[in-house]
């Protein structure tokens, strides 16, 4: 059993790693990556069965990041887990680096190339269906954005997951209520999300998506009903952990200046110090 303090410290450390990556590369999805850091930390340190030394182990749990752009936290987690050397993070977005601005399955641990929104859940349905066909116990986790819910293909996939009774599939919505243009409710309202997903045959669980301990407990309890896929509606704060970026749509893919970088790293270092 992983202890709570370890998880919280890990999330803070991942935030520091991703801010450094984005600052050094001069590019990246700062707000989006800070938003999903706790979800990735919960999955990779508290929930999923993966083996960094054997990334293609056939019984591994699968993670598909449908909101591909929030990749910096993902790279930081995979490096920290040992899927590839941590010093490779400094190549992020550099010429010909495999650590590009979206998940890339040339990198050990990454299942599929994503980046075009609305693809990940369909892929995950295929993976979960294969597990059912082969009587395998692995689970499939897919992270989507709340802005991504405007893609029609999400709902095609949602329908098919309940049709095939995929209770080994866990969809997660990083619901930070902001997208690149502004508030998701202004751009294209998708509420009530919980009722929409329930009406598509999913069990819906709402959690604080920046509470890594609550996330671990929520994932571990799935499935919530036999024969039904689970949708974890994770209420998050875009830019979480860095005060100047929190809840500001403009930080979707803004890169910190030197001053902002120092402020962000100072805040995150303090958060780590408190978690002793």
């Amino acid at each position: 059993m992983v202890d709570d303090l370890f998880l919280k410290r890990k999330a803070a450390q991942i935030r520091k790693d991703l801010i450094k990556m984005i600052y050094e590369a001069g590019t990246g999805h700062t707000g989006s990556s800070l938003s999903n850091t706790d979800i990735l930390t919960a999955l990779y340190y508290g929930v999923m069965n993966v083996d960094p030394k054997n990334p293609n182990w056939e019984d591994r749990d699968r993670y598909v990041q449908s909101k591909g752009h929030a990749v910096e936290s993902y790279w930081a987690v995979l490096a920290d887990k040992g899927f590839f050397p941590k010093d490779e993070l400094s190549t992020f977005s550099q010429f010909n680096s495999r650590l590009i601005g979206h998940p890339n399955n040339k990198v050990p641990g990454v299942e599929m190339n994503t980046g075009a929104l609305g693809h990940g859940l369909s892929i995950s349905v295929g993976m979960a269906l294969a597990a059912k066909m082969d009587n395998k116990a692995y689970r499939v986790y897919t992270l989507m954005g709340d802005g991504e819910q405007a893609e029609g293909s999400v709902w095609e996939a949602a329908m098919s997951a309940s049709q095939y009774k995929l209770d080994n599939l866990i969809g997660i919505i990083d619901r930070n209520r902001l997208q690149i243009t502004g508030s998701t409710s202004d751009v294209m309202s998708n509420e009530p999300l919980d009722e929409k997903w329930r009406s598509f045959g999913w069990e819906v669980v709402e959690v604080d998506g920046n509470d890594v301990v609550e996330l671990v407990n929520t994932f571990k309890k799935a499935p919530y009903a036999s024969g039904k896929p689970t949708l974890v509606l994770a209420n998050t704060v875009k830019g979480k952990g860095v005060s100047l970026a929190e809840n500001v749509a403009g930080w979707h893919h803004k890169v910190p200046s030197q001053e902002e970088y120092e402020q962000a790293m100072g805040e995150l270092t303090k958060q780590l110090e408190v978690l002793q």
């Binding site: 056939e58 399955n105 299942e111 599929m112 190339n113 994503t114 980046g115 075009a116 609305g118 693809h119 859940l121 369909s122 892929i123 995950s124 349905v125 295929g126 993976m127 979960a128 269906l129 294969a130 597990a131 066909m133 082969d134 029609g152 293909s153 095609e156 996939a157 329908m159 098919s160 049709q163």
Partner: protein, 321 residues
């Protein structure tokens, strides 16, 4: 050149879609990882017997082509061998981004069978015609593109695809087509054009159902003393460049024929090779840049000059006699 049916006299009543289904059913009985995915298309794909005999190996996705291809990619990434059977018009357009990203870019071993392709939906109009699919699919890196000439080649192709570790888009038509081969007792190789008939004066390079028209054209030309080579370019990508360059060198003139837009398909692919390696006069025969006229396939072909009468006339013009 063995096995080539030089004259169309088979009276074949079996559509290529039926051959795809029968061949896959035989193979899937042995290999349980072979799956067929349909988008409410099991009837159009002649997959009803497959669904009845192997219900656990047929995945129905409903009328949702994006999800269809995404699910196939996820299944392939989990060790399955998915064959997607969906109308070419929808498969090559509605789900093209899934084909590009989830299949080709992610390198998942998905076989995409575009059924009822070209103008074979006839009277249903442009929404159901697919004469842009070769252009779109061949521009995607990592995706191979094929089109069989008749039922015999369809069988050979499906058998070859089972252990072919590359994603493929394969287009077939809806209706029975006259045979171009006498039987399926011959060596088939992906990416290698078949010389259906030798010739020295001109080469016709055809693909899919136009191979039969090309053979008939060559026959007509022979009666007029013109020696016409016929290449069956069943694989559009990877293209058999050597066969094209050889034909350009040895016959000096090339005509291409395809059930596809004159933009971006076989004619374009061949001219890319010819113009950069062995420039010779060329003619591209296909569907012009307009919503294709509606009617039965032979009527549409005749309307656009995809016929032995028209192409032999053009060939003679090119030769200058």
């Amino acid at each position: 050149m063995n096995n080539v049916a030089l004259k169309a006299n088979s009276g074949n009543k079996i559509a290529n879609r039926k051959v795809v289904s029968d061949t896959l059913l035989g193979l899937a009985n042995v290999n349980k990882d072979i799956l067929v995915l349909t988008s409410d298309s099991r009837g159009s794909a002649s997959m009803v017997p497959f669904a009845e005999e192997l219900p656990d190996q047929l995945v129905e996705v409903g009328i949702a082509e994006q999800n269809l291809v995404g699910i196939a990619a996820g299944l392939a990434a989990s060790g399955k061998k998915p064959f997607v059977a969906s109308p070419a018009c929808f498969l090559s357009m509605r789900s093209i981004e899934q084909i590009k990203v989830d299949v080709a870019y992610s390198r998942t071993n998905v076989k995409l069978i575009g059924i009822s392709g070209g103008v074979s939906y006839g009277a249903l109009g442009m929404s159901h015609h697919s004469v842009q699919d070769l252009a779109v699919t061949r521009a995607i890196p990592g995706l191979h593109v094929m089109m069989p000439a008749d039922r015999h080649e369809t069988k050979k192709m499906i058998e070859a695809l089972i252990d072919y570790d590359t994603p493929v888009y394969l287009r077939i038509g809806r209706n029975p087509v006259e045979d171009s081969y006498l039987n399926d007792d011959y060596h088939f190789e992906i990416g290698k054009a078949v010389t259906m008939k030798e010739g020295n004066d001109i080469t016709i390079i055809a693909t899919g159902e136009t191979v039969r028209v090309a053979l008939d054209t060559a026959e007509a030309l022979q009666n007029d003393g013109v020696s016409c080579r016929v290449l069956n370019m069943h694989t559009i990508k990877p293209l058999d460049e050597a066969a094209i360059i050889k034909a350009a060198k040895e016959t000096g003139r090339i005509i291409t024929m395809e059930e596809h837009s004159i933009y971006g398909g076989l004619g374009a692919a061949v001219s890319e090779v010819v113009s950069q390696n062995q420039p010779v006069p060329m003619k591209i025969i296909g569907i012009p840049d307009e919503p294709a006229i509606t009617g039965k396939t032979p009527e549409v072909f005749n309307h656009y000059g995809i016929s032995a009468a028209n192409v032999s006339r053009i060939a003679k013009q090119m030769i200058g006699n």
